[in-house]
């Protein structure tokens, strides 16, 4: 399965995401921010980093890049899209996911391993997860505090995909929300970094099931 990984100027985890895809048996395909062509990929990952320096508002400029026009079309037609950290911010800015991400409650960048619980398995990226199960995955961000006008409604609609386990919320996110989905479930965004949690030599492997989900899905 060919999984595209977008490189924006300032993306940092694009190589990590590509390596994670490859280590899980997928075929990573590099996608360039300036191209409106997704090269026929079966799924798209928007990686972490600081797209365009994030000097305005995280993800605010990236959403206008040519590749995002193509990603939006791909998402509307049901293609699996995963936004990780900065990629999550870009998807929120682009209106492909609900809510927004603000400065951490502690006002500092936070890098640590956290536990998240899986709230929804009816998505392209969590179908191989156990509902209610917990995964250990690192977070690393300065602006990861998830906000939404009506988190209860979001949860009722089944759009909350991950919550930080009790005591693990690193940023003050509303209702401990760590990741959300679009109504169709093909687009998922989360602040934790599953691409950093696939290799047992490097630490916990809570990220593996996200990639397994999309790689084992019917195409």
């Amino acid at each position: 399965m060919r999984i595209g990984v977008v490189t924006f100027p300032g993306s940092c985890d694009d190589r990590d995401a590509g390596a994670a895809v490859a280590s899980m048996g997928g075929d990573p395909v590099a996608l360039w921010h300036g191209d409106g062509d997704l090269r026929g990929v079966d799924a798209v990952v928007l990686p972490g980093g600081f797209s365009y320096g994030d000097y305005l508002r995280c993800g605010a400029i990236a959403r206008f890049s040519p590749v995002m026009g193509a990603v939006a079309g791909f998402a509307r037609s049901g293609g699996p899209v995963l936004g990780i950290c900065n990629g999550f911010q870009v998807l929120c800015e682009a209106g492909l996911l609900p809510g927004a991400l603000l400065r951490n409650a502690g006002l500092r960048f936070v890098c640590r391993e956290v536990e998240v619980t899986v709230e929804s398995t009816t998505t392209a990226w969590t179908s191989a997860c156990t509902a209610g199960g917990s995964l250990t995955i690192p977070v690393k961000h300065g602006e990861g505090r998830y906000v939404h006008d009506d988190p209860a409604a979001l949860a009722a609609a089944g759009q909350v995909v991950f919550r930080y386990a009790p005591g693990h919320n690193p940023n003050g996110s509303l209702a401990d929300i760590a990741g959300v989905r679009n109504p169709a479930g093909n687009v998922v965004g989360l602040m934790p970094h599953p691409e950093h949690a696939v290799d047992p030599l490097l630490g916990p492997t809570g990220g593996r099931t996200l990639f397994e989900s999309v790689l084992t899905a019917r195409v």
């Binding site: 300032g10 940092c12 985890d13 990590d16 994670a20 960048f109 890098c111 690393k140 300065g142 030599l201």
Partner: protein, 732 residues
């Protein structure tokens, strides 16, 4: 002589003798631009004029050394065609004047040094020193420096994986910010900053040039602090990590496509230094067109353009037929690239600006032929053999262990390293909190281990011994992971070289470091000297920081530093004596600094490292943790709190119980081994001549020394983790 020039050279930090020397080189009065170039290039920071005669005593040769001192960074061969590039540098003064930007640009600068050799910068470590963190100024400095390091490293996607932080009042007016970066590359793609071909083009890549950082290397880095030095803030550079990220990717693509003849970073003294160095290294000259430099401020004068330390710039050396390809790669990554000059024969750097020749000087006179000083020095007397540490040993053992765990210097630095991305690059096998960082080598099953160390208290008591102990400790930390230590980079932080006693301690420290490096088989591949670390006449402790890089043949065999599970035997390698001079326990209980630092037997240290590598290679070790600051007490606290696995141990015999816990005798390591391996361990240790003592076993959730100590690991962890946030006023 024009009075303008006469007034200017002193203002730029040149001495009368140095000015005479410039007159001699040129045979005429220098222009304003030339004067600015010489003042920067001949500054202490750029020219090493006070340290050069001493640094030659450091060993720099070794079978694995591909590039020693003199280039942008040292390079060592890791085998399988892969090379590691690494170096440490200081950004002390900028970080005091403007902590966030000072530290950020320190990280940016060292990353560009690694990049200049053609390597992808992979990870950084930082060695930081501040005054008492409970004081508001120190808190502001610590917060700013840590945020700056994190901001820059996180944004450029270079993991920050280790280092150390300690606190002592001597750094209150002059903190230390030393940054080490390592990168990896195919060895055959090694680049150097040498311009060998006449007609080759020098392409200036990256950010526009502005008025920031002018005189950073001279007035800021090469002079002591006085009251009212806030006025030096404009001398601090301002960083843009986004620009650097693009520059990194563009340079790596240029290297990968073999479009470059050479690469040089722009750091101290900006264009002047880069141009002079690439030309002088190859005995060439350069015709420089300053009008090609994109300026932030069009009103800048030639001398300002020449010495500006604006960040995020590189100089690429390109064959004319590759220029179009180079410009295309830069355009794709969205960075500026302009032809700054053309290499010429004859060794003269000629600079044109707005229709005039503003400078015409021999490249070598800037880069190589600057003044070299054998400054007067007074060697320190080593402490007398009978010098006593004068430390009371009457405390309760439990109280002593808790007091060490609660000391900000000894305690957890989680508050610091949780602000750094340690994951990016999918290579961090062991990160902050480990004895040494362990990084997987890309495209290989191997790994490198890296540690930085340096104990200013030891060096203050005895500079030679302290420097040797720093080498030993950093190498020991590396060996604890199972890696073979292979090379050293150093950052020598001292006060004013114009004081004979400072120069004497510098010379002694170099001697101690040289002896240790020789004995441990470690070439010094590069580094940095930072002088003038004093504030209003108060010098810092002499603080040589040593970075050691080691090689692990199998990344999966890396040994952790904490107890991974119950049921393991706990052993101590090395001999424990009552050695408390300069110790953490002395500092905590008396506040004074007396006696002698721990004795160091270099042959025993080398034997210990060999033994550790052997034990790790045979997979006998479940954990290995170096004993240093805080002795066995702190080591066992750290080995238990990280995983929550407790231990029951007896204390090493022959010394009083409290001394056994807080003594800082060198060449010691705490081990956890499966009981089935204990016999083999004992045999191998005996063969190596390393004393090995079985202390007890891991297990339970308490740390127990029967009859002396019985504390829940959770309580130790609480104390150890809370100490720094509490000192910073973030916890009650």
């Amino acid at each position: 002589m024009s009075s303008v020039v006469e007034g200017l050279y002193r203002q730029l930090g040149l001495t009368d003798e140095e000015f005479e020397r410039i007159l001699g080189v040129l045979g005429r009065e220098p222009s304003r631009a030339e004067l600015a170039m010489y003042s920067l290039m001949w500054s202490e920071h750029c020219s090493y004029k006070s340290s050069k005669v001493h640094l030659r005593r450091l060993p720099s040769q070794g079978a694995r050394v591909l590039q020693g001192p003199g280039e942008n960074a040292g390079v060592v061969d890791l085998g399988d065609g892969v090379a590691a590039v690494f170096k440490i540098e200081s950004h002390n003064h900028p970080s005091f004047v403007e902590p966030f930007q000072g530290a950020a640009t320190g990280v940016g600068g060292i990353i560009r040094d690694i990049l200049a050799m053609g390597a992808r910068p992979a990870a950084s470590l930082n060695s930081l020193r501040f005054g008492d963190p409970a004081e508001p100024l120190q808190r502001r400095l610590l917060e700013g420096v840590v945020a700056g390091i994190g901001h820059y490293g996180n944004c450029v996607g270079v993991a920050t994986v280790g280092g150390e932080v300690s606190f002592d009042p001597c750094y209150a007016g002059n903190p230390l910010v030393n940054a080490l970066t390592v990168g990896f590359m195919p060895a055959e793609r090694l680049l150097t900053g040498r311009a060998e071909q006449p007609g080759d083009l020098a392409v200036l890549m990256g950010a526009k040039t502005g008025r920031d950082g002018i005189g950073g290397a001279s007035v800021l880095a090469s002079a002591s602090f006085e009251e009212g030095d806030d006025a030096k803030r404009p001398n601090v550079q301002v960083g843009d990590p986004f620009q650097e990220k693009l520059l990194i990717e563009a340079c790596l693509e240029l290297g990968e496509r073999r479009l470059l003849r050479g690469l040089q970073d722009l750091g101290a003294a900006g264009i002047s230094c880069a141009v002079a160095e690439v030309a002088a290294r190859a005995g060439m000259g350069m015709e420089v067109d300053l009008d090609a430099v994109p300026l932030r401020e069009p009103s800048m004068e030639a001398w300002e353009v020449l010495v500006s330390e604006s960040q995020e710039r590189m100089l690429a050396l390109v064959a004319p037929d590759r220029l179009d390809d180079v410009l295309e790669v830069c355009r794709r990554w969205g960075i500026l690239a302009n032809v700054l000059g053309e290499m010429t024969e004859g060794g003269i750097v000629r600079v044109g600006f707005r229709g005039e020749v503003v400078a015409e000087v021999p490249a070598a006179s800037l880069a190589d032929d600057g003044p070299v000083y054998s400054r007067p020095l007074v060697r320190p007397d080593p402490p007398a053999a009978g010098a006593l540490a004068e430390v009371p040993l009457d405390a309760e053992v439990a109280e002593a262990v808790l007091a060490l765990a609660a000391d900000p210097t000894c305690a957890s630095k989680r508050w610091v390293w949780e602000q750094y991305d340690r994951f990016v690059g999918h290579g961090t096998v062991a990160g902050p909190g480990s004895d040494a960082a362990v990084l997987r080598v890309p495209g290989s099953g191997r790994a490198v281990a890296l540690a930085t160390d340096g104990n200013g208290r030891y060096t203050a008591l005895d500079p030679a011994a302290g420097a040797a102990l720093a080498v030993a400790e950093a190498a020991r930390n590396v060996a604890c992971t199972g890696a073979q230590p292979i090379a050293v980079t150093n950052c020598l932080n001292f006060a004013s070289p114009e004081r004979p006693e400072v120069m004497g301690s510098f010379a002694a420290a170099v001697d101690g470091m040289a002896a240790a490096c020789q004995a441990l088989g470690l070439p010094v591949t590069g580094g940095n000297v930072s002088f003038y670390n004093e504030s209003s006449g108060r010098p810092i402790h002499p603080t040589p920081i040593v970075g050691v890089l080691g090689l692990l043949e199998d990344a999966a065999a890396a040994v952790p530093s904490a107890f991974p599970r119950p049921g393991l035997d706990v052993w101590l390698l090395g001999e424990t004596r009552v050695e408390l001079g300069g110790s953490a326990w002395q500092r905590l209980t008396t506040g004074h600094l007396k006696g002698r630092p721990p004795a160091l037997d270099l042959a025993a240290e080398a034997a210990l490292h060999r033994l550790l590598v052997t034990l790790a290679t045979r997979r006998l070790l479940a954990a290995a943790h170096d004993l240093s600051d805080g002795g066995l007490a702190l080591a066992i606290v750290e080995a238990t709190v990280a995983t929550g696995v407790g231990a029951t141990i007896t204390l090493p015999p022959g010394v009083p119980p409290l001394a056994a816990l807080v003594s800082e005798s060198a060449s010691r390591v705490l081990l956890a081994v499966p009981p089935a391996s204990a016999e083999e361990l004992a045999t191998l240790a005996a063969e190596a001549g390393v004393p090995a003592t079985r202390l007890g076993t891991t297990g339970g959730d308490r740390l127990v020394v029967p009859g002396l100590l019985d504390l829940p690991v959770s309580r130790l962890r609480g104390t150890y983790e809370a100490a720094l946030p509490r000192a910073l006023g973030e916890l009650a």
